[in-house]
Subunit: 131 residues, 2 copies
DNA sequence: TATAACATTGTTATATTATAACAAATTTAT
DNA sequence: ATAAATTTGTTATAATATAACAATGTTATA
């Protein structure tokens, strides 16, 4: 099993810092544009950092939006159980942190013989303001 | 509220037929390539059909793979509650049809004030063969 | 039937998202 | 010191998706 750094590289830090400040999902090319002043000039630099950040759970990808958001669970180190709430009105995305839900889904089994080790759930609806 | 056709247009039928025969998720451009002999020559023709088929629930999009699969619930007319099982080994995707799960998720509420009317859940793991 | 309203189609071009490939520089372990 | 591995920088291109608009087809109803 390949060893991997336990700390973040320079580019990974730059990208994570920027995402954490945003408090909302960001598109990869918008991140790219905004970190160009820090020296990351080309897409692979951003995508590589994102890949790693997602792998270690510091960042999640909102698949339905091709956007990236910082993990809110400060202790999160691996990203295998994610749930989001997405407002179709204002597009606000919130990470759902609900022990019952995650327990239910982590324990979910069906009779297919599949052994699940990861899930991603996206709820859509309208938030208070947008209703 | 705009009225919409209740039956499928020519292009929608062509695309749906092809997806239904596949029994596995297909990429939009692979669909395009394969329906060119039927006269659909450009991406918008395929994407438009897909958009509509997804909207009426005949087809689901597997967001994590940018792929499209026919709905297995023959009576499915609206696509607001979807769950899939995805094997990380062979990439096989199966639509999960589990009344308990869908009941649990359809009834899910948190204290955010969000009113959910749709969800999509993707489970990842290894199927029997790939373990 | 005529025709207005609307939905679908065909088409070209382009926007958006993401990766391949490889050389150079940096970091790590010995 | 130096080999091994990782990260970085860079160019090019692949893969996914939409904008815009003219032409055609369909539906309802006057």
């Amino acid at each position: 099993m390949a060893q991997k750094r336990e700390y973040l590289s320079k580019n990974q830090k730059i990208v994570l810092d920027y995402i954490e400040k945003a408090n909302q999902p960001l598109k990869a090319y918008s991140i790219l544009f905004n970190v160009q002043k820090k020296g990351l000039k080309a897409p692979p630099q951003v995508y590589r950092a994102l890949d790693r950040l997602v792998e270690i759970g510091k960042v999640h990808k909102i698949e339905s939006k091709n956007a990236f958001v910082a993990c809110k669970n400060s202790n999160c180190t691996i990203s295998n159980a994610t749930a989001f709430s997405i407002c179709d009105g204002c597009e606000k995305v919130t990470e759902i942190s609900n022990p019952k839900l995650s327990k239910y889904l982590s324990g979910f089994q069906d009779n297919s013989g599949m052994k699940y080790n990861k899930y991603n759930l996206e709820f859509f609806g309208l938030c208070k303001k947008c209703r």
